[in-house]
Amino acid sequence: MQPAVAQAQQSMPVIGPFLAKMWPVLAAGAAGALVPRRDSRSERFWFAVAAALAVLFLTLLWPDAKVAAEEATATGEYPHLLSWLIAIPVFGALAVLFVPRQATRAVQVITMLVMAAEIVATCLLFKVTPKEGFWLEETVEWIPAWGIKYHVALDGISYWLIVLTSILTPVAVFVSFGSIKTRLKDFCFAFLLLQGAMVGSLVALDLFLFYVMWEAMLIPMYVLIGVWGGVDRIKASIKFFIYTMAGSMLMLAAILWIVFKYRALSGTMSFDLVDLQRLGLPLVTQKWLFAGFAIAFLIKVPMFPVHTWLPDAHTQAPTGGSIILAAVMLKLGCYGYIRFGMGLFPHAAHEAGATLAGVAVVGGIIYGALCALKQNDIKRLVAYSSVSHLGYVMLGIFAGNPASMEGAILQMVNHGISTGALFLLVGVIYDRRHTRDVAEYGGIAKAMPWFAAVWVIVTFSSIGLPGTNGFIGEWLVISGAFMSKGTLGQWGRSQAIGAAIGVILGAAYMLTVTQKVFFGPLDNPKNKRLPDLTRREAIALAPLIVLVFAIGLFPRVFTERMHGSVAAFLQDHTMRYSATPPEKPVLAPPPAPAAPAAKAGE
């Protein structure tokens, strides 16, 4: 009797604070349980879990909650966390290989468990206190003879992209389980490998490691499009591969050039970004090398005129592939541009910035939107809208102003959420009707009201309605570009206004397709009995919808984490491009005295 009482007494004080802290989570769970109209207990349960998890995720982010979480775990630092983030999906992929092909359920469960473990590992990231420089740095010699190291680290620039990756990959996989019926094991294997490679390229600081991860990303995606894609999948996958590979080759050449120049000057080989950043290169050399890197990254972004692989790849890719391609892979182009393009070649990047910003506005935002206006294939339209949205991201990066850069990074996340959700939604009707032709639809809001409601919310997010996430990104980018007279030159303000005009076109194409697909009379008999969102689809969409409003209303929760890193990065960048470029390659002394002394062989 007595121990039970004691236990109750002990548990009472626990329940109180738990309720106080977790009431939003519980409320979200309760609301989620009440939402479904069908009386299916499991549906309610899973919906509640999805809603509660989404809110839990937010509460963990909350500044106050963060303090509480830090109190809970005094240590707070996890030295090998990044390696875990790479290893979990990669080893998960290997584990999937050992599951019998016929045991589809087991394959699914294992994949989801691995991805859940990845999310748990990502949640540990929230406990990392932002500090100067890189966080969670980890260096291991890999191929010492070539100076290749396994050097991974994280900072505020890559932080949210990693979080985005580990949230959206499970969403994409989970929703794909509804439609992928063939070669499921291969599918899961490819997806897990892809996730590992994406996280890997986001944390790699060694150029060799980065290049390996960058290319490793290509293969699973190539397979995803080529095996589970649409009718023209082979053509699209080859186009995707060759386009990206062409850029990668240029980047590889540039990497090798720098590495050998570094060896010529220092006597040792190194692929490490931190080492290579010490190289001062003449402007002409910088321009050529920058071109090599920038083309690789801008193809991936994609920016006009190297964007044409994207509509084909998106159209033919399976739903999950499209989501990941749009949500994460494109962002790696932007990220690479910041980290390596701007990081290694400050003068060239600064000089090209104003021109490229013009390309981003005219060729990306406006041209992409105009192309989107004329698409009859819904997926193709969303793909062109990606071109337009990524124009904002690149404009923010080129503007090189702390706020615009934060806006650009946030816009990457936003685009991942809203365009990921759009592709997911297109996948929903594609699964039902097996067509993406706008003319086949019309009035389906009547048949699928919840689907229509979610689509409209995501559309609002995509066109940047204030209160949703899209607005924050666009507003920070546009205002940043407008204010950054110094970086963008005399055209900065015109570019900002041009980007603002893109907002009109965005509304035009998204609302046109919404009207054609969802509104009007429901006159196609094939659409009359379309089932509404399934449990699986609703659960996959729930976290995205929560994030749409979370970022839209509380963007500071997200930008705060970038703050220090972005400011430091831009300060360093500005300092470096303000100095006159050297006449011939020189090597600056290593910044920290503790670093191994490299002999400057003049």
Partner: protein, 905 residues
């Protein structure tokens, strides 16, 4: 401001959170759970939240009033000045919700914090009451109007969301938060116009509204950027305190000309940008086209969004930014001219429309024009007062029209025809409450003396005649010039003042009277079309009997209306339709799938075959709000009865506009004397318009209008078709954008992808084909190629190659000749030593030469190989001033001048 409320401090008035939160909660509840919990719950939550919000608003307003009173008394006590010069501190209740984001700030790396902050002051306090009060009445009305609609919950979700957005707009304490509401109301408007989305026209109208608003929103964004960039603040207090920075900033050159460029100040630029936003949201020329189409939405929506609240937010914005607008007489003139032009233009269209709601829509556009005319001439208070009165009479008219349509629909069962005034008439008898309310509102909008519309409209016209807007500098100069000593302009400061005054643009003297005349014409038109509406709807005999309800459900209602556009063979149409569609007497419900159709009109269970089911009066939920609004339409004018010097509203708003009115905005000298005389034309406008309508439509039974239409059919058709503005836009702007998009899409497929993907693929495959042709697999061909290759190598080795690598160290150049089988070398330095004969050995391959700075020397190398063949090459060495080249490989061919070591790189 020390006054402490018992409820909460003024700087943390969290009741605003409740006022905002309740409608949002209502939207969430109705949207997500509405269907599950049923109509009763939807009605309770949808209407109840707004009602509680309204009560909280009243309490807030009372508190604000108390605070204001307190501050005013304190100011009076402190200064003891005459009331005219008394500066009353603006009172404000504010609530900071959270810190939203940090945007860029020019010139520094620090950020401009944007907070989600709400505040209520005198201006927003009035708007708050209007939005929640009129909003509540309209919600109540809608709860009955929409009662049978299958998407009842969706409707209330949208409507509540709209109230939330509108309150965000009104209560925002800074521009970005206002923009949230600004676009939020646009989005709700989009959703509500397309509420019955199963008709393509409705959905298209919603989209049109959203995109037209978006065009304006770009102006808003640009305006915010300019203000943020130059003023460095986006909240009201910050803008008001630092707005003069806009004048001191650089100027934008518009036109370059010989006599100095024409430039505008940043204040003008910002104001014009904001005004673009206002033209979109408040339906002014050139972006008004969406509002008439927006009538596709349910009638309560037209009343709430497209008459009483959302469309007036442009006027609210200008009033809110009156400090900024007053800095630019030019922008103010643009606002006034646009307002006057819109007032007249829309009124002319309204004269000939037959659709009840279309008349009201154009009337709204026209009335909004009056409001902009008012704020454009600096009559901020009066312009805003027109927002206030218009909310009542126009909401009353729309709701009354809704009741009429509701009643007509019971007869006609056709969306288009039930709104057509040609099928109405005589409804006075059937719906007395609606009639009296609408008649009251019609009197008000037409400017019948002592009604609400009379005071606000005539106030605007009077101010248009007498007000002058001056540039701040010019205004200051004006006060200097008005001093007695400045009769003599030779005094330095007076001279300076006169120069200052002349340097800044202000509207010419004829500007005000012209606006007045335009306004009077527009007011005459207003009185005419409003009474035309009233007479055609409520007077005479009910014409709806002639429409066969069965024929009315013909699938293409527009077709039947076609001959009506001529306006001559009006009544024939119904019969024609009857004849033509006798066979179409099927249940319309079969046409639509299953049981989920959203038609709002399948709810009349009267027997359609009984021809004499008369139109019925609206239920109390509908009639009472209309009556209340009608009462306000009559009496609300006494809140700002300027001619009688009874103006509590003017007094209340004074604090908001006090720094501007009297400084930048001045009145002509004898304005007070003009007040009563200028009322004459206003009253005359009412008399002429209303009288003409009576004579033409009641006494003469439309003889004259028919004659007019017959004599000028093209003019009538042009006016009926809204002067073809939509068609013009379609051909120019939309067509242009469409062509551009077509071009872009084609370019993407054929040029961009063509060159980058298809052409490069073609080149690669061409190269592949070429190389493949060598891989024949025929041994003879391979051995033949082998023989040719061997021969080539042989030739290469037989010829000597006098090549050398040039290395430089300071001024010393070292040439090292390439090695080869049995090579012997002979060097000859120009103007120096020369080898006599060919030599071999380690030393022979090298030769060192001194080349002074900026000098050039030539060295000739002759090589003899094992076959005894010789060849020669001359190297020209130039020592340029900067010497950056560490090593250089020069290859030369015999007989050709060798390449010079390049200078520089």
């Amino acid at each position: 401001m020390e006054h402490a409320s018992s409820f909460a401090p003024a700087n943390n008035w969290f009741l605003l959170g409740l006022i905002l939160g309740l409608p949002l909660y209502g939207a969430f509840f109705n949207g997500v759970f509405g269907k599950r919990f049923g109509r009763g719950a939807v009605r309770f939550v949808g209407v109840g939240t707004i009602f509680v919000s309204f009560l909280a608003s009243i309490y807030t307003f009372m508190e604000l009033h108390k605070l204001h009173h307190h501050a005013e008394a304190a100011a009076k006590q402190a200064h003891g000045a005459s009331p005219a010069e008394l500066v009353i501190p603006t009172t404000k209740l504010s609530w900071l919700a959270w810190h939203w984001m940090d945007m860029a700030k020019f010139g520094t790396t620090d950020r401009l914090p944007i907070e989600v902050k709400f505040s209520v002051d005198q201006l927003s306090g009035v708007m708050l009451l209007v939005v929640t009060g009129v909003g509540f009445l309209i919600h109540l009305y809608a709860s009955s109007y929409m009662a049978k609609d299958p998407s009842y919950h969706r409707f209330f979700a949208y409507l509540n969301l709209f109230i939330f957005s509108m309150l965000t707009l009104v209560l925002a304490d800074n521009l970005p938060v206002l923009f949230v509401g600004w676009e939020g109301v646009g989005a709700c408007s989009y959703l509500l116009i397309g509420f019955w989305f199963d008709k393509t026209e409705n959905a298209a109208a919603g989209r049109k509204a959203f995109i037209a608003n978006r065009i304006g929103d770009v102006g808003m964004i640009a305006g915010m950027l300019i203000v943020g960039y130059y003023v460095g603040a986006l909240d009201w207090d910050g803008i008001n305190q630092n707005s003069e920075r806009l004048l001191n900033a650089e100027r934008i050159t518009i036109i370059q000309r010989a006599a100095g460029p024409i430039t505008i100040s940043m204040a003008t630029a910002a104001c014009l940008c904001f005004f673009i936003g206002c033209t979109g949201k408040s339906a002014q020329i050139p972006l008004y086209v969406w509002l008439p189409d927006a009538m596709a939405g349910p009638t309560p929506v037209s009343a709430l969004i497209h008459a009483a609240t959302m469309v007036t937010s442009g006027v609210y914005l200008i009033c809110r930014l009156n400090h900024v607008f007053a800095m630019s007489p030019f922008a103010m003139a643009v606002v006034a001219v646009t307002g006057a032009a819109t007032a007249l233009f829309a009124a002319t269209i309204g004269l000939v429309q037959n659709d009840l709601k279309k008349v009201l829509a154009y009337s709204t556009v026209s009335q909004l024009g009056f409001m902009f005319l008012g704020v454009g001439v600096g009559a901020f208070g009066m312009g805003f007062f027109h927002v206030f009165t218009h909310a009542f009479f126009k909401a009353c008219l729309f709701l009354g029209a809704g009741s009429v349509i509701h009643a007509m629909h019971a007869r006609i069962h056709d969306d288009v025809k039930s709104q057509d005034m040609r099928f109405m008439g005589g409804l006075k008898k059937y719906m007395p409450w609606t009639f009296y309310s609408m008649a009251a509102a019609t009197l008000a909008i037409s400017g019948f003396p002592l009604t609400a519309g009379f005071f606000s409209k005539d106030g605007i016209l009077f101010k248009a005649f007498t007000n002058r807007v001056l540039h701040p500098v010019a205004a200051t100069a004006q006060t200097v010039l008005n001093r007695p000593e400045c009769k003599d302009l030779t005094l330095t400061h007076c001279k300076q003042a006169s120069i200052d005054y002349a340097q800044h643009w202000h509207a010419p003297e004829w500007f005000g009277p012209l606006l007045f005349v335009v306004g009077i014409i527009a007011a005459t038109c207003t009185a005419f079309y409003m009474f035309r509406l009233l007479f055609k709807t409520f007077w005479g005999e009910f014409r709806g009997w002639s429409v066969d309800p069965a024929a009315a459900i013909a699938p293409d209602p527009f077709k039947n209306l076609e001959p009506l556009e001529e306006g001559v063979t009006e009544y024939a149409a119904g019969h024609e339709a009857h004849d033509g569609h006798e066979h179409a007497h099927t249940d319309p419900h079969d046409l639509i799938d299953g049981d989920r159709h959203d038609d709002h009109h399948d709810h009349h269970d009267e027997d359609l075959t009984v021809p004499a089911a008369p139109p019925h009066e609206a239920p109390w939920q509908m009639a009472v709000p209309v009556a209340i609004l009608g009462a306000f339409a009559i009496f609300a004018g006494w809140l700002y009865a300027e001619p009688f010097h009874f103006e509590p509203m003017g007094h209340w708003l004074h604090g908001v506009f006090q720094t501007v009115v009297g400084h930048e905005v001045i009145q002509v000298a004898n304005a007070a004397k003009l007040e009563w005389p200028l009322m004459g034309p206003g009253v005359l406008a009412f008399a002429v318009g209303a009288g003409l309508a009576y004579v033409w439509y009641v006494r003469d039974e439309e003889r004259v209008p028919k004659q007019l239409v017959a004599s000028w059919p093209r003019l009538h058709r042009a006016a009926y078709n809204k002067w073809y503005v939509d068609e013009i836009y379609e051909a120019t702007v939309i067509g242009g954008a469409d062509a551009l998009a077509d071009g872009a899409a084609l370019m993407d497929v054929w040029i961009v992808d063509g060159i980058l993907a298809k052409l490069s693929a073609l080149i690669v495959s061409g190269l592949g084909a070429l190389l493949r042709s060598f891989q024949t697999g025929v041994v003879h061909v391979y051995s033949g190629v082998l023989a040719v290759g061997t021969l080539g190598l042989f030739v290469f080795f037989v010829r000597p190659h006098p090549e050398a690598t040039v290395m430089k160290e300071g001024d010393t150049y070292t040439l090292e000749a390439a090695a080869g089988t049995g090579y012997e070398y002979k060097w000859e330095v120009e103007g120096g030593e020369a080898d006599k004969d060919f030599v071999t050995g380690d030393q022979a391959t090298k030769r060192t030469v001194q080349v002074p700075l900026d000098a050039t020397r030539k060295i000739t190398l002759e090589v003899k190989n094992a076959f005894g063949r010789t060849a020669k090459q001359t190297f020209t060495l130039t020592n340029p001033k900067p010497a950056p080249v560490p090593s250089m490989s020069v290859q030369g061919m015999p007989g050709r001048p060798p390449p010079r070591p390049p200078a520089g790189h």
